[in-house]
């Protein structure tokens, strides 16, 4: 040894890591089974063994600037084969949870997202917001808290006006979220930058082309999920259903928004809600809702049947599953209770739907769903840097 390396462990960091899902990390004895077990870990500097030793030693800088934590798709094979029950898969998941707290703006929201004791704060914001709007509309515009049309029909837009309440609030929320993601993405890429200068040999593929490849080769096809192993095909199916369900519902929302606002300019493309059940857009919406519920059932069932000794679901996992369940169930129940013509139930459920949807979107960058953007960014970045 020409030079001794002095390790300066950040003990506080180790404790934080253990708190967000990495509690077993100290059991690791560095046998490297995990790196080999992982079907998608690269040949050079494979994960997650190196992350395990960094975590044990409290090497915070190395861990938080590491794009590899996003390459992992959390299949759990490493944790299943781990001889010590150190759960390397859970550690990477914990590191991602930490990243949601660290790279995003408004760290307070990140803190609230980290523990069930703050859940009430997260619910209170949209609950109060939509309650105030309900109150104002019922007293000053709709004339009733549960307004019905002349034939007893329920139109949610007659209480929660699309043009004045729903659309402006959700557009603000959406673009606010996009802005947060923009800032978070910049922080994330900055953290990945290696120290010193990187020598690039040969031609480097432009970032945008890398993004295209990631989107079409990996995300659309869920290729990594397949590579994670055929024995986990239910996981791939569940995730894919949920992914395409959201895509379908996004298309529906986009078409309706364009039709609605565009309708003011060009009457020919105007769309008015509620849509008839035979309308192709409505069919897409309903198919999307069914796909979402089926996919969620598969994913939830998988998590519930997981052995805690091998892979332990953390609060981030359960928060996201529950919020999506809330969105899906209140959404479907809103439609059913509207069609059933029970205004008290219908409006209450719709209110809950608004609360749930707002929670899903407004807190997206800080929640586990933030991986939609951050994992995509990391996959694009590593592709750009030539790491596969």
């Amino acid at each position: 040894m020409a030079q001794s390396v002095r390790i300066q462990p950040d003990l506080q960091f180790v404790k934080e890591l253990q708190a967000v899902g990495g509690e077993s990390l100290k059991k690791c004895y560095q046998c490297a089974t995990c790196s080999v077990a992982c079907p998608i870990s690269p040949a050079s500097n494979p994960y997650p063994r190196k992350e395990m030793v960094w975590a044990s030693w409290g090497l915070k800088d190395k861990l938080i600037n590491n794009p590899d934590i996003w390459l992992c798709h959390n299949c759990g094979t490493c944790s299943d084969l781990c001889p010590r029950g150190a759960k390397p898969g859970d550690l990477l998941s914990a590191l991602r949870n930490m990243a949601y707290q660290r790279i995003n703006v408004f760290p307070t929201i990140g803190k609230w997202m980290s523990s069930p004791k703050y859940l009430i704060n997260l619910i209170a914001i949209p609950a109060i917001l939509w309650a105030v709007i309900w109150f104002i509309s019922a007293n000053y515009y709709a004339g009733s808290a549960f307004p019905v049309g002349p034939d007893g029909e329920i139109v949610y837009g007659n209480l929660f006006f699309g043009d004045y309440f729903i659309d402006p609030i959700f557009m603000l929320t959406f673009f606010g979220m996009v802005a947060c993601f923009f800032k978070g993405t910049r922080n994330l890429i900055k953290s990945f930058k290696p120290e010193g200068t990187t020598l690039v040999l040969g031609k480097q593929k432009p970032l945008l082309l890398c993004l295209k490849d990631v989107l079409f080769e990996e995300i659309m096809t869920h290729k990594k999920f397949k590579d994670c192993g055929d024995d986990r095909s239910d996981r791939k199916a569940g995730h894919m259903l949920v992914f395409y369900a959201f895509l379908a519902l996004m298309v529906v929302t986009g078409v309706v928004a364009v039709g609605h606002w565009g309708g003011y300019l060009f009457h020919s493309i105007a769309i008015h809600t509620p849509l008839n059940l035979t309308n192709p857009i409505k069919i897409l919406a309903n198919v999307g809702a069914i796909m979402l519920i089926v996919g969620m059932a598969v994913l939830t069932n998988r998590r519930r049947s997981q052995e805690d000794a091998k892979t332990k679901s953390n609060y981030y996992d359960w928060y996201l599953l529950n919020v999506i369940w809330a969105v899906a169930l209140t959404g479907v129940l809103s439609e059913l209770s509207r069609l059933a013509g029970i205004p008290q139930i219908a409006y209450t459920v719709y209110y809950m739907h608004l609360v749930a949807v707002w929670m899903l979107f407004a807190y997206l960058p800080w929640s586990k769903l933030g991986h939609v953007v951050y994992r995509t960014v990391a996959l694009t970045y590593v592709r750009h840097m030539g790491r596969r």
């Binding site: 004895y29 490297a32 790196s35 080999v36 077990a37 040949a43 500097n45 494979p46 084969l81 010590r84």
Partner: protein
Amino acid sequence: MSNSILVVGGGFSGITAALEAAELGYEVYIVEKSPFLGGRVAQLNKYFPKLCPPSCGLEIQFQRIKKNPNVKFFTQATVDSVAGEAGNFTVTLSIAPRCTAPSSAELSTLAEGLEGEVTDEFNFGLSTRKPLYMDTPFAFPNRYVLEKDNLSQADKLKVGSSVHCDLNESEKSVVLNVGSIVLATGWKPYDVTNLTNLGAGQIKNCVSNMQLERLASPNGPTNGAIQRPTDGKAPKKIAFVQCAGSRDQNHLNFCSYICCMASLKQALYVREQYPDAEVTIYYIDLRTPGRYDKFMRKATADEMIHLVKGKVAGVESDAATGDVIVEVEDAVKGTKKKVRHDMVVLATGMQPSLSGEKNPFGVQLDEDGFVIGGEAKGIFAAGCATKPLDVMRTAQSGTSAALKAIQTVRGR
């Protein structure tokens, strides 16, 4: 009341315990479930660290047994039940028929002439043997065993005409009155079929360390030539996979203690047989405690013996060439690679023999199957029934158990 001692298990610790007590004047019974004494040691090619053959050591013990009228032993015998307490145990044994005369007749010609072939468990399935057999030429008792269930009709006629064979011998039951019991039930190699990511025993050229002992042993299936089981090719590139099923909560949750030394020993004798062979030992931590450090230095001084830190987590076979490909991360370099070898040896660990077996002794076992209780009842464990041990420590623990057993029966 009895001042006799029962030793369960005729391996190295059992033999040692029995002899120590017998040579101090106590009557001792050894109960051995297989047809021959010597246990796992008899299956070895060489001991570490001196690299001498197991006949050195066992031969002396067998002579001591022969010469001492205080030692009586039962082979092919199992303990059915144990009743009573310290000083007065009633033990019932079942003894399977050996079907050969007690005269230690030389039956090799008769055995050769038989047509039946049986998988040889003594060689861990690497070869077959006749249904009339001895494990090794120096087996003790030096008396053939006849397995009548594995005889063909023609074999039965041949055997029936021999005055040294008795097809009508039947199972016997023996009741013993003893004052104390030594449990020297030993160990079994961990079942490789559980190691799904290491080939699950389906890859022929991926053998276990005990199989390699048999391959290298002069009385083994290849008369000591270390060859690939599939094609008999002399291996030029051999890998050892350490902790194959040991230190693993999914398999054996403990360190088997001997496998690192066993692999180093095997690396040395492979290199001795093939001076141009290359050996790689993949390990998590190399555990060569105490004086074994010197042995480790001797092995690693050989330039053709490589040590790579990283546990092999994938083994697959190349059907075309019979080669075995291991997948491993070199944890020092941080690279994951697939490496091709002519032959791979899984350093499987020791599982206590009592694990998963019936326990008529009523002693407490820990979750892995090692004996942790019984001393208050006058039952003492020795050797690998207590924990993984090398042969030297096994002998020491046999002596220690004998001393405790003597203290229990003394003056009765």
